[in-house]
């Protein structure tokens, strides 16, 4: 299935985010980050937020992190963000 999907994406020159299996991340400066297509919250403190993805995890580290809004597949985080990192 995944093979067919990536083949179609290749053939038709489609952007990767239409498959909805990869996260879509939008960042505004270093103060706001918007992540779509996550799979849940793994860890949250005022200095780090770990989000589960379809493949691996996303670690956002910084200071005074606040989750503005959390939906089942989407989060908006504000704070002083230092680092956004993909992990296996």
């Amino acid at each position: 299935m995944r093979k067919i999907q990536s083949w179609i994406l290749d053939r038709f020159d489609l952007p990767a985010d239409v498959t909805s299996k990869v996260p879509r991340i939008l960042m505004v400066g270093s103060s706001r980050i918007h992540v779509e297509n996550h799979k849940g919250i793994e860890r949250f403190s005022s200095t780090e937020l770990w989000l589960r993805l379809y493949q691996g995890k996303l670690a956002i580290t910084g200071e005074e992190l606040v989750i503005r809004v959390a939906y089942p597949d989407e989060v908006v985080v504000e704070g002083r963000i230092d680092e956004v990192k993909f992990q296996k």
Binding site: I41, I67, V69, A70, P72
Partner: protein, 412 residues
């Protein structure tokens, strides 16, 4: 999608402080249960603050229990809580509602009736008659008399007024009065004083009726404009010239003089006028307040040129008119009818017009003796006619009595 807080504000939100060992786990479970969470932040190392909608508040309890989390409500916001608070302050709510109702009710009353434009008719008289007709401070606006009717009634009651208007400005009723100019009266008053009658224009005297005063001209005399016709001084021993012993009585009478008028009339040979074709159609339009619901494509009328007649059907509740009803609109088709005249017809028409014009000009005593059409000519589709009228009319005009000679006067 992400920032639409408003519906949650309306439905109500709850802000919680949570403490427990598995808070991140709890967040994850809540998201999986399709619960939306706002403003998640750590208050300190143990305490997590978050906001959820009121609807979800009852759903999260099982998750709290499962993760062994303790909860404290720190803020309730939004409309449901506002309502709840308002229920507790009943008097306040009643006060607000009472205030709004009072403003509404009071603004449907007339607070002041004003009269403007009157000089001689006393305002008090107008106000008291208006009150009898139902226009007074404290009257409920829907019970006001019909505007047109009211104006007519006032006009009938005050014959000194030539026009009466009535309008509302918010809670003020304004009656506008236009009074008649009493020129006739002044002239009548003047007649009683010491006046002479003089000629208004050049004429040949046709007839003289003297009621008071001494005639200074005779029939068939030619007079010029401003000549003395009847003198207001009367009773001297001699005839004219000796003013010394005469009494001043003021002249009164009629002097008919023969005068001439030239009228210029233009009559177009082609007359265009509108006539009804007899075709008619009608539609019914609802209205609310003063707004007529006109649906442009549905009720288009079928005619090019037409005249509209509106019949308003007001619905009554008991005896009070409701603010809505319907209007029946009737369209009468019209067309231009052309009427062609030949020259003699045009001249006859022009003569008729000129005659009626003149008759209204020369007053009730006047009459036309002869009339003569002078050189009619046709220029660009119009007939220009000059008509010469020989007319008898009252040529007397009032002038204050002036002694013509000023000898030493010793009258008293």
């Amino acid at each position: 999608m992400s920032q639409n807080h408003l519906p949650y504000k309306i439905k109500g939100t709850v802000t919680l402080h949570l403490t427990g060992p598995l808070l991140a786990e709890l967040l994850d479970q809540l998201l999986k249960a399709n619960i939306q969470i706002f403003n998640i932040r750590w208050v300190d190392k143990q305490k997590l603050e978050l906001t959820i909608s009121l609807k979800d508040f009852y759903a999260i309890r099982q998750y709290l229990r499962k993760t062994n989390t303790r909860m404290r409500i720190i803020h309730k916001g939004g409309f449901p809580f506002l309502l709840m608070r308002m229920q507790r302050r009943k008097a306040f709510v009643v006060g607000i509602l009472f205030f709004i109702t009072m403003i509404y009710v009071l603004s449907t009353l007339i607070w002041k009736v004003e009269v403007e434009g009157n000089e001689r008719i006393p305002s008090q008289q107008i106000l008291s008659f208006a009150a009898k007709l139902g226009v007074y401070p404290g009257q409920w606006k829907p019970r006001l008399p019909d505007q047109e009717e009211f104006q007519n009634d006032l006009l009938e009651y005050f014959p000194q007024a030539s026009w009466v208007g009535f309008r509302m400005e918010g809670t003020r009723a304004i009656i506008t009065v236009v009074e008649k100019q009493d020129i006739d009266e002044k002239e009548k008053e003047g007649e009683k004083g010491p006046v002479d009658l003089v000629s208004r224009r050049d004429a040949v005297i046709y007839d003289i009726h003297v009621e008071r005063g001494r005639p200074m001209v005779e029939v068939n005399d030619v007079v010029k404009k401003g000549d003395l016709l009847i003198s207001g001084a009367y009773g001297g021993d001699n005839e004219a010239g000796e003013e010394g012993k005469s009494r001043i009585v003021g002249a009164k009478g009629k002097v008919l003089g023969e005068v001439w008028y030239d009228s210029e009339v233009v009559v177009p040979l082609m007359n265009k006028r509108k006539v009804y074709t007899g075709n008619r159609s009608s539609t019914i339009l609802p209205y609310v307040g003063s707004w007529m619901v006109r649906i442009p494509f549905l009720f288009s009328n079928p005619y090019d040129k037409y005249e509209t007649i509106q019949h308003k059907k007001v619905l009554y509740l008991g005896k009070w008119p409701l603010p809505f009803g319907w209007v029946e609109e009737e369209y009468l088709e019209m067309k231009w009818a052309e009427q062609r005249l030949n020259q003699s017809e045009a001249i006859a028409l022009g003569r008729e017009r000129a005659r009626s014009d003149l008759l209204s000009q020369i007053g009730p005593d006047g009459k036309i003796i002869t009339e003569k059409v002078l050189h009619p000519r046709v220029v660009s589709g119009k007939v220009y006619i000059r008509i010469h009228f020989d007319v008898v009319e009252d040529i007397a005009k009032i002038r204050p009595h002036l002694p013509q000679t000023t000898p030493s006067r010793n009258d008293g």
